[in-house]
């Protein structure tokens, strides 16, 4: 899905998920590793504020990813 959206729309798609090898396999070009399979963009164990902070950081990283020129599949770890 990620690959075909990018292909048909011609716009960058950043995928946030936890199992990086799967994102590499399906052909995502911009990858942000998520927190956990059941809550990729949050961490409920850190309480409401901590959860939001984790989500904010991941989304800021995702926004950096879509502004970054890449030549090949790239994992944005920070």
């Amino acid at each position: 899905m990620v690959r075909e959206i990018e292909n048909s729309a011609g716009i960058p798609v950043v995928q946030i998920a936890t199992i990086v090898p799967i994102m590499l396999t399906v052909g995502a070009n911009r990858i942000v590793p998520g927190v956990a399979i059941p809550h990729p963009v949050g961490d409920p164990s850190r309480g409401a504020e901590g959860d939001r902070a984790v989500r904010r950081e991941l989304l800021e990283r995702a926004l950096r990813a879509i502004q970054t020129p890449v030549e090949e599949q790239t994992i944005f770890t920070s």
Partner: protein, 348 residues
């Protein structure tokens, strides 16, 4: 000793009806129904078709667990030595049903199973490692050939005849490699292959490499402050009650939901219906999968221009690659038309 065979077919091939009967639950009939009659005549003296189990394609797809359990039970009651399902040709739901039942019967009853499908049937990719899927044409016009190939393979298996390579036997590879002594050594075979390649002659590899599609990365967003960003997710987050009946697994559809008036996803307005992960956290706060709250916050702060008015969601578990690709193409075309600049896609 005469061996016992059970056939599985859908409501259409049982002569019950088309789509309007696709909801019928599993049932069993003694002896042969529909294509099972031809299977019996092709098996001849080698085996007897003792029963036929029938289930509607939609019923199977929509009640996967119950349908599978009930079909395995009904099939088991006939005490078969082998199951023949379909053939399903290029019918997606039927193919998935045939593949699923074959896999379950082989696993739970410990007997071999055979079905038949066209190469593009999503059932091939899902189930070819778990059962024998004979290659067929794309429609029931190829019934005669399909049943001939299925029955020939059935006889071989029932007699315990050693099988050759999948390619030679006419079924989709199961991902099994068998060791054997070749008459020529590897070095010679490799050079022979190279010479054939150089001469432009056909050759076949002895070790298939997986093929993953790749696309060149899209150009980055230049002006984030004025960019429209869309959220997409395969994490199964949908409005409460799942109004579009997106499947909990093996999804064949996605939903488009207007979030233009929402600032936050809560257990009151959204939920997770994904069948492939523990939904406790997603149901307490769907933002942990589909992060609307923080996206709205950043939109308000002017970090980026605008959050696109709709989210697209489906469940990414057991979803056929062909379906996922179609979702992506349709979503991509819509986003392009609506001038969206980038996508954040979350997956579980």
């Amino acid at each position: 000793m005469t061996r016992r065979v059970v056939c599985y077919i859908n409501q259409f091939f049982a002569g019950m009806g088309g789509e309007e009967q696709a909801h019928v639950p599993p049932s069993a009939r003694p002896g042969t129904v529909g294509p099972a009659m031809q299977v019996q005549s092709l098996l001849g003296e080698e085996a007897v078709v003792v029963g036929t189990v029938i289930c509607g394609d939609s019923y199977f797809g929509e009640h996967l667990e119950e349908a599978r359990a009930e079909c395995v039970r009904l099939i088991g009651e006939f005490k078969p030595d082998l199951l023949v399902a379909g053939p399903a040709f290029n019918a997606g739901r039927y193919g998935v049903a045939c593949g699923d039942i074959c896999s379950a019967v082989t696993e739970k009853l410990g007997i071999p199973s055979i079905t038949g499908m066209y190469r593009e049937n999503p059932g091939v990719e899902l189930y070819s490692p778990k059962t024998f899927i004979v290659k067929t044409s794309d429609s029931a016009r190829g019934m005669k050939d399909a049943l001939g190939a299925i029955s020939a393979l059935a006889v071989k298996i029932l007699k315990g005849t050693p099988l050759g390579a999948a390619e030679d036997e006419g079924y989709f590879p199961r991902g099994i490699r068998k060791n054997f002594f070749h008459e020529t050594n590897g070095a010679k075979r490799a050079v022979d292959m190279l010479l054939r390649k150089l001469a432009g002659k056909p050759f076949s590899t002895e070790y298939e490499m997986p093929v993953f599609k790749r696309i060149p990365p899209a150009e980055p967003v230049k002006d984030l402050k004025n960019a429209t960003i869309a959220l997409v997710s395969s994490g199964g987050i949908v409005p409460r009650g799942n109004p579009d009946h997106i499947r909990v697994s093996s999804a064949e559809s996605y939903g488009v939901y207007d979030i233009s008036s929402l600032d936050d996803l809560t257990p009151e307005n959204f939920e997770s219906i994904h069948g492939g992960y523990d939904r406790v956290w997603a149901n307490e706060d769907p933002d942990t999968v589909l992060p609307l709250d923080i996206m709205r916050e950043m939109e308000r702060e002017g970090v980026f221009g605008k959050l696109y008015d709709n989210v697209f969601t489906t469940t990414g578990t057991g979803t056929a690659v062909a379906h996922a690709e179609r979702f992506g193409q349709e979503i991509g075309e819509r986003l392009k038309k609506d001038g969206v600049d980038a996508v954040i896609l979350t997956s579980t």
